[in-house]
């Protein structure tokens, strides 16, 4: 038993390029996720992470008080987020808006207005600037009418604009809004064990590889061989996933939850399901390696997609429209297990997720065993 394990282990890890990619690709992807969500901004250089929004200001009628107040409000905003261009003619400004050199045009008049050309992030910001100006202006008119003596207090209170909310998870922890991408990534990495599984199952099939032929003539029971294969791959894959989790939490600094025991448990089940899927795909059918690989891509990328690997909101949308998919999709179940552990502190549902995964593993293994048992080869 032990020597089977030992030599299988040595044989698999000596395939360096396969080992390297199995470990490296989720780590590289995680790093790219981390970069593209802007965790490494330009803060260190003192530059802001976003450009100032370019606008033009057209002075249509500056006689009223409100117009003058709006002008000075824009002047204040210029330091923070607006880049006011030196354009004063309306036609020029409209041309520039058409050329996308501007995001919007503010008109200074009795009732200030804004012209934009599309519905994007910058346009939203410009609109909300105008809205908050209007609301403040209305408020101050009211204050000036009823309590003019208190205007200085009001101004002081306004200048003390505060952040008033604080995001907490139900367990009372802060949470990173991009964390679901990393949950999906770890889930996807777990499922990617399928590639290891498919590869190694070839080594047990006499019609496909020489090693398979050698292993088929041993008197060792087929189930023993499958179990040895599985445990070796599992150990390797489990370590890869642990390294990935360590990298995400320690190097990238994204919390996957504080409960080490629970994290290990999820990683354990995740690695298991990946390997089991691989062994099942590998043992099941008489297909070419290329076809098996494309089926593996189907069984990893598609669940990953549904669990939010590409669009973070995907799992939420599915939960509302067709929740059953989230119960049977292994990537979604894994990602749910991470949620329950890290965000909701929910042991009941956490246990359920793990049980679903365990059930899937058992089913897959049964299928794999049925696929290769009693397989006999003619002597030719």
């Amino acid at each position: 038993m032990l020597h089977l394990f030992k030599y299988r282990f040595l044989q698999i890890i000596r395939d360096y390029s396969a080992m390297f990619w199995a470990l490296a690709f989720p780590i590289i992807l995680g790093t790219l996720f981390y970069l593209s969500f802007g965790h490494v901004g330009l803060e260190a250089t003192g530059d802001s992470a976003w450009d100032m929004i370019k606008v033009a200001v057209i002075r249509e009628d500056t006689s009223s008080e409100n117009a003058r107040a709006f002008e000075s409000y824009l002047g204040m905003m210029e330091e923070e987020m607006l880049d006011i261009q030196d354009i004063s003619k309306e036609t020029e400004a409209l041309d520039a808006l058409n050329e996308e050199e501007l995001a919007g045009i503010y008109y200074i008049k009795e009732e200030p207005s804004l012209t934009v050309a599309k519905n994007g992030l910058n346009e939203r910001i410009l609109t909300s600037l105008l809205e908050s100006y209007n609301q403040n202006a209305a408020m101050f008119r009211k204050i000036a009418m009823t309590h003019p003596e208190n205007l200085p207090n009001a101004v002081a209170a306004l200048e003390d604009y505060r952040q008033t909310t604080e995001a907490v998870s139900l367990a009372g922890k802060d949470l990173n809004p991009d964390v679901q991408y990393f949950f999906a990534l770890v889930a996807y990495a777990c499922l990617s064990g399928i590639f290891l599984g498919v590869k190694s199952s070839l080594d047990g099939q006499a019609n496909l590889t020489a090693l398979g032929a050698r292993r088929s003539i041993t008197p060792t029971h087929k189930l023993t061989l499958v179990l040895i294969d599985m445990s070796v791959l599992f150990v390797i894959h489990f370590f890869n996933i642990l390294i990935l989790c360590l990298y995400i939490t320690k190097v990238l600094g994204i919390s996957l939850g504080d409960d080490i025991g629970a994290l290990l448990l999820v990683d354990f089940m995740g690695s298991m399901i990946g390997i089991c899927m691989g062994i099942a795909v590998g043992c099941l059918t008489r297909m070419s390696l290329g076809m098996k690989m494309s089926i593996s891509v189907l069984f990893t990328l598609f669940p990953g997609f549904l669990a939010g690997l590409m669009f973070g909101n995907m799992k939420n949308i599915i939960e509302l429209r067709c929740p059953i998919i989230n119960r049977i999709n292994p990537a979604a179940v894994l990602s749910d297990a991470f949620y329950c552990m890290g965000i909701y502190n929910d042991t009941e549902r956490f246990t359920r997720c793990l049980l679903i995964l365990a059930l899937m593993c058992v089913c897959l293994l049964t299928v794999a065993f049925l696929g290769i048992r009693r397989e006999r080869y003619d002597s030719i």
Partner: protein, 383 residues
């Protein structure tokens, strides 16, 4: 043309695999489009299901609930963590504000922050934060200037009903919104790169068989011509895949897409992307000679590039640092051109120039990647 014929023969033997890849990625594209309703940008202000758990019961607390009810649907939720967990898990509620006792003293006059719980990943939660900020700050200003709390709350709610005067120039003919076919074209690079790299990568495995390689090397056809014939085979595959992919917007959004004056530009743009994807596939296949490595390498290239270049999230949302870096990747230029086409129905001279620049950059990237791949493959064969 023996090599070309051989390439086609192997492709024919692997046709199931190729169709499987096409099916996988087209399904991903279409279901992403259908399920998210084309709204990938995530900055649209939407009405959410939110819950206000009121442990205070005072005027301010009720005012906040009324204020939020203007924008969102309030869901009744008992103050019980297990029920809350349940509802959040099944996405029946997206955002929960827990108003503590002595709300006024603690959060309005004091410095304490109001605890809110959001479902991670919903950017829309950000708008609720902003709305709560506005409400509490405004009430504080009114209260500081001598209004009673009840009056202050009433005033702020009243004020919030005014809307700002915003004019939208309908520059793209779709009311300033991204047309749905533009959203689809936004993630076509991922589809093209994945399909072509996966399927051509696995087809090329056959050519890496040492015996096949030796046989090809001792033939009278020089390596350069062999490579040229392979490239021809690639281009043929690329055109087929491109045709299939561009069928999608035609089938899904026939009217809008056919009537869009930018239609030919979208098609040219995606064709250039196909060339980039082909040269990437050629590079991948010269570097990889084993089936089990393809998935890992292709994933890093396709997913990584898509994330950095604004395929899945809008370019606007990416930070400046990422955008600067993305300029060194071909997909960035594709997305720039796509955005330009989505935002403008008729292009001005300057915009036409920048569209051509985007096209040119893609072509250049395709040529450079292909050149690198050819050099590598020639060196390997002679070595």
């Amino acid at each position: 043309m023996t090599v070309f014929k051989g390439f086609l023969l192997i492709t024919k033997r692997n046709i199931h695999m190729m169709f499987l890849y096409i099916a996988i990625f087209l399904t991903i594209a279409i279901s992403a489009q259908k399920m998210t309703g084309g709204n990938q940008s995530g900055f649209a202000q939407e009405s959410l299901n939110i819950a206000v758990i009121d442990r205070d019961g005072g005027k301010l607390a009720r005012g906040l609930a009324d204020y939020l009810a203007q924008y969102h649907t309030l869901v009744d939720l008992p103050d019980d963590p297990s029920v809350i967990q349940d509802r959040m898990f099944y996405r029946e509620v997206y955002y929960i504000v827990t108003i503590p006792e002595d709300f006024e003293d603690r959060c309005l006059y004091g410095e304490e922050l109001l605890p809110v719980t959001k479902i991670p990943g919903s950017n829309s939660g950000f708008y609720v934060d902003q709305q709560i900020n506005t409400f509490l700050n405004d009430v504080r200003v009114m209260a500081a200037s001598g209004f009673s709390l009840a009056d202050a709350v009433a005033e702020v709610i009243d004020n919030s009903k005014d809307t700002a005067q915003v004019t939208m120039l309908d520059k793209n003919g779709f009311g300033g919104e991204q047309p749905l076919h533009a959203v689809m074209f936004q993630f076509i690079p991922y589809i093209l790169i994945s399909i072509l790299c996966y399927s051509l990568g696995s087809i090329m495995i056959a050519f890496h068989n040492p015996d096949v390689k030796r046989r090809m090397m001792c033939s009278a056809i020089p390596v350069r011509r062999q490579n040229h014939q392979l490239v021809l085979g690639y281009v043929l595959m690329g055109i087929i895949v491109w045709l299939i992919c561009t069928l999608m917007p035609f089938l899904l959004y026939r009217e809008d897409f056919v009537n869009d004056p930018n239609m030919p530009y979208y098609l040219v743009n995606s064709f250039l992307m196909t060339l980039v994807a082909l040269s990437l596939a050629f590079l991948v296949s010269t570097l990889i000679s084993r089936n089990e490595l393809i998935s890992a390498v292709v994933n890093v290239i396709s997913l990584g590039m898509s994330f950095l270049c604004g395929v899945f999230v809008d370019l606007d949302i990416l930070g400046k640092g990422v955008r600067t870096f993305a300029q060194f990747l071909p997909v960035y230029w594709y997305e720039l051109a796509n955005k330009l086409l989505a935002d403008n129905q008729s292009l001005s001279l300057a915009q036409t120039v920048s569209l051509l620049t985007d096209y040119g950059m893609q072509l250049l990237f395709a040529a450079v990647i292909l050149g690198v791949a050819l050099v590598i493959s020639q060196n390997r064969q002679t070595a």
